[in-house]
C-alpha cells in the first residue's frame, strides 16, 4: 500500500467510510446462534486448556486469525492454531507451492514465517486480544531450534499452548523427519518438555507404518495431547508439460480426500494413548466434525475447508450444536469415542 500515490489513497478512505455503515453484514447470519436457551455444554478439556467448544482452526490454514476477522467472529472458536513458527525467518519453498487434486490440494509452502522474535514483537500484540486460546504451532530443523522457540513462547501470557509440528512434509531438514521414527519423536518431545511448562500438543505425521506407536512415544516423553493428522505426502504431475506441478516435486495432501484416513488414525491413536486426541484431516462440515469426536477425538481442527469457505468454522460450530440438540446430547463430551 505504501507504494500507492495520494489520489488512490483517497479512494481507500472513501471505501472504508462506505464500509463502516455495513460493517457487520458478513457476520449477520452467522452471529445469531439459534437457541441459547438449551443447557448444552460444548466445552472440552485438552490437558489444562479448557476450550469453550471443540472447534479450532488448523495451523497453516488460518494465518494468525486476523485474516478471518472480516468473515467471522474469531472469538467464538475453541482455539486457533497459528501458522508455524520457527527460530529464524524462513522464506519457504519456491512457487509453485500448490496443486489442486481430486477433493483436496497439495501444498509445499515449507514453513514460511518470519521467525519467533517477529511473532512475539509484531504478531502477538495484534492477536493477544482474542478471547480464545491461541496455540502456536512450533517447528524447526533442529531439536535446539524447537527448544528455542518453545522457551521464548513460554512467557507469553495469552499463549497457553504450543503444537509441536514434527510432521511437516515440506522441509528438507527437521519437520517430518522427527515425526516418522519413535526415538526421534520421543527425543524432540522430551527436549521441549524440559523448557516448556504449559500445554504441549504434538502434531503427528500420517506418513508412518504405525501412528499409534509414535503417539505412545510422545505420550511417554511428556506430550499433553496429540493432533492427528498432518498432511499425507503426495505428488501431482502436469501430463502436458511432463513435469511435476510442485517446485518440490512432492507435497502435503489435505482436504476431504484424506478424511477417511484421518478418521481411522484418530480412532487408532485414541485407543492407544490416554492423553486427549485432537482430530483433523479434511473436516469440512459439522457431520465430519461429529465423526471425529465419535472416533475418539476430544477436539477438532478445521484446515483446508477454510480456503473454500472462510466462515466454515462457525458453520461447523453451529452445526455441532444443532446435532447435539437433535440427538438430546447435553454435554459434547458424551460424544467423545461414543461409537455404538
Amino acid at each position: 500500500m505504501e507504494t500507492k500515490l495520494p489520489a488512490s489513497k483517497d479512494l481507500f478512505l472513501i471505501r472504508e467510510s462506505l464500509n463502516s455503515t455495513d460493517q457487520d453484514q458478513n457476520k449477520s447470519e452467522i452471529e445469531n446462534p439459534k437457541s441459547k436457551i438449551t443447557m448444552l455444554d460444548l466445552s472440552v478439556n485438552v490437558h489444562k486448556l479448557m476450550l469453550k467448544n471443540p472447534v479450532m482452526s488448523a495451523s497453516g490454514t488460518f494465518g494468525y486469525g486476523i485474516e478471518f476477522d472480516d468473515f467471522i467472529d474469531v472469538n467464538r472458536l475453541g482455539g486457533i492454531l497459528t501458522k508455524a513458527c520457527t527460530s529464524k525467518n524462513r522464506d519457504g519453498n519456491r512457487y509453485p507451492r500448490m496443486a489442486e487434486t481430486p477433493a483436496g490440494m497439495l501444498n509445499s509452502v515449507g514453513l514460511q514465517n518470519k521467525g519467533v522474535e517477529y511473532f512475539i514483537n509484531t504478531i502477538y500484540p495484534k492477536i493477544e486480544h482474542y478471547d480464545t486460546h491461541i496455540i502456536v504451532n512450533v517447528s524447526d530443523s533442529t531439536v535446539e531450534g524447537y527448544m528455542e522457540v518453545a522457551e521464548k513462547l513460554n512467557s507469553l501470557e495469552k499463549v497457553n499452548g504450543i503444537e509441536l509440528n514434527i510432521s511437516c512434509p515440506n522441509v528438507k531438514e527437521g519437520g517430518m523427519a522427527f515425526g516418522t521414527s519413535c526415538p526421534m519423536a520421543g527425543a524432540v518431545t522430551k527436549a521441549v518438555r524440559g523448557v516448556y511448562s504449559k500445554t504441549m500438543i504434538v502434531k503427528l505425521s500420517p506418513n508412518v507404518t504405525n501412528i499409534a506407536e509414535i503417539a505412545k512415544a510422545v505420550e511417554d516423553e511428556g506430550a499433553d495431547s496429540v493432533s492427528v493428522i498432518n498432511t499425507l505426502l503426495g505428488m501431482a504431475i502436469d501430463a502436458e508439460k511432463r513435469r511435476p506441478i510442485l517446485s518440490t516435486i512432492t507435497g502435503g495432501l489435505s482436504g476431504p480426500a484424506i478424511k477417511p484416513i484421518a478418521l481411522r488414525m484418530v480412532w487408532q491413536v485414541s485407543k492407544a494413548v490416554k492423553i486427549p486426541v485432537i482430530g483433523l484431516g479434511g473436516i469440512s462440515n459439522a457431520t465430519d466434525a461429529i465423526e471425529f469426536l465419535l472416533a475418539g477425538a476430544t477436539a477438532i481442527q478445521v484446515g483446508t475447508a477454510n480456503f473454500i469457505d472462510p466462515q466454515v468454522c462457525i458453520k461447523i460450530l453451529d452445526g455441532i450444536e444443532e446435532y447435539c440438540n437433535r440427538h438430546g446430547v447435553k454435554d459434547i463430551k458424551e460424544l467423545i469415542g461414543a461409537l455404538n
Partner: protein, 255 residues
C-alpha cells in the same frame, strides 16, 4: 480494507466468442468500492472436479445497478462450468481482494492486455479516464477471436491491436506493435496483464525505455486472503503473496 463474502445472482452470462464470456452478477447489498486490479475468489459449485475457488479479475462495475462482471476464458472444468451459468443462478464470491494499480506520473498511460489478461484493464481505463488521465489500450491475442470487446475501451483512449496470425490489427506480439518504435515515450506508465512471456517482454521494454511498469500476476492460489501462502512471488523484498500484497506489482521489484 474490508473483504466480503456474498451470494451474487447472475443477471446475464454474455458469450462473447467461443471461448470468452462475461458473467454479470448482482450483489445482494450495496457494492463496496472496487479498485482497478482487484479480483474475486469464485466458488464453482457446479463442477465436481473444481475443489478450490478460482480467482478472476473484476472486469467492470456498475454501482447504479449494483452489478459487477467477470471476464473469463474457458480453459478447464471450472471455467466451463461457469460458462453454463444462467440468469438467476447464484455464485458465491469473496471480494474485493488484492491491491490495485497505482496512478501514472504523467497524463498518458498504456494499458496492455494479452488474451483474457485484458480483464483488469477495462476498470483501470475507466478509472484513469475519470481522473483526467488518457489511457490508451493495446490488446494482443493469438487470433482475432482472442481480442475481446475492444470497442469498450474507445470512450477512454485509443485502441491498438496485435494478433500472432495477423487476423486482427498488426501481426506479431504486443511488444512488436509499431507504437513501440514511434511514440511510446509519451507514456509515463505501462500496465500489463497476460501470459508470462508477454508480461516479461513488456517489463523488458519498460526497463529499456525507463518507463515505470506494473503487471497483474495470475499465480495459482488457494485462499485469496493471505492465509495459505501458496501464491507467493519472489521480489527484491522477499516472498510476497499475490493475493494480498499483489496481484499488481511494480516490475522493478520482481525477481
Amino acid at each position: 480494507m474490508k473483504k466480503f463474502i456474498h451470494d451474487f445472482e447472475v443477471t446475464h452470462n454474455h458469450h462473447i466468442t467461443d471461448n470468452y464470456f462475461a458473467i454479470y452478477l448482482k450483489c445482494p447489498v450495496a457494492l463496496p468500492q472496487i479498485l482497478p486490479g482487484q479480483f474475486a475468489e469464485v466458488l464453482v459449485s457446479n463442477s465436481t472436479t473444481t475443489y478450490l475457488r478460482r480467482p478472476f479479475s473484476i472486469y467492470d462495475v456498475d454501482y447504479e445497478k449494483n452489478v459487477l462482471s467477470l471476464l473469463i476464458k474457458k480453459v478447464g472444468d471450472g471455467t466451463s462450468a461457469l460458462s453454463k451459468l444462467k440468469e438467476g443462478d447464484i455464485l458465491n464470491l469473496i471480494y474485493p481482494l488484492g491491491n490495485s494499480f497505482s496512478l501514472p506520473e504523467g497524463k498518458k498511460a498504456l494499458l496492455i492486455g494479452g488474451g483474457v489478461g485484458i480483464a483488469p484493464m477495462l476498470l483501470l481505463a475507466k478509472f484513469l479516464h475519470g481522473k483526467g488521465y488518457k489511457p490508451d489500450v493495446l490488446i494482443g491475442g493469438r487470433t482475432s477471436n482472442d481480442i475481446v470487446e475492444p470497442e469498450k475501451y474507445k470512450p477512454f483512449g485509443e485502441v491498438f491491436i496485435t494478433t500472432d496470425d495477423g487476423s486482427a490489427g498488426e501481426k506479431g506480439m504486443v511488444t512488436q506493435h509499431s507504437l513501440f518504435s514511434e511514440n511510446v515515450k509519451e507514456y509515463s506508465m505501462l500496465y500489463a496483464c497476460g501470459p508470462d512471456p508477454m508480461m516479461k517482454a513488456v517489463a523488458r521494454v519498460a526497463a529499456s525505455l525507463e518507463i515505470p511498469c506494473e503487471i497483474s500476476l495470475e499465480n495459482t492460489m488457494a485462499c485469496g486472503i493471505g492465509a495459505c501462502l501458496c501464491c507467493v512471488v519472489e521480489t527484491v523484498d522477499g516472498n510476497k503473496t499475490t493475493c494480498i500484497e499483489g496481484p499488481v506489482f511494480d516490475t522493478r521489484k520482481l525477481k
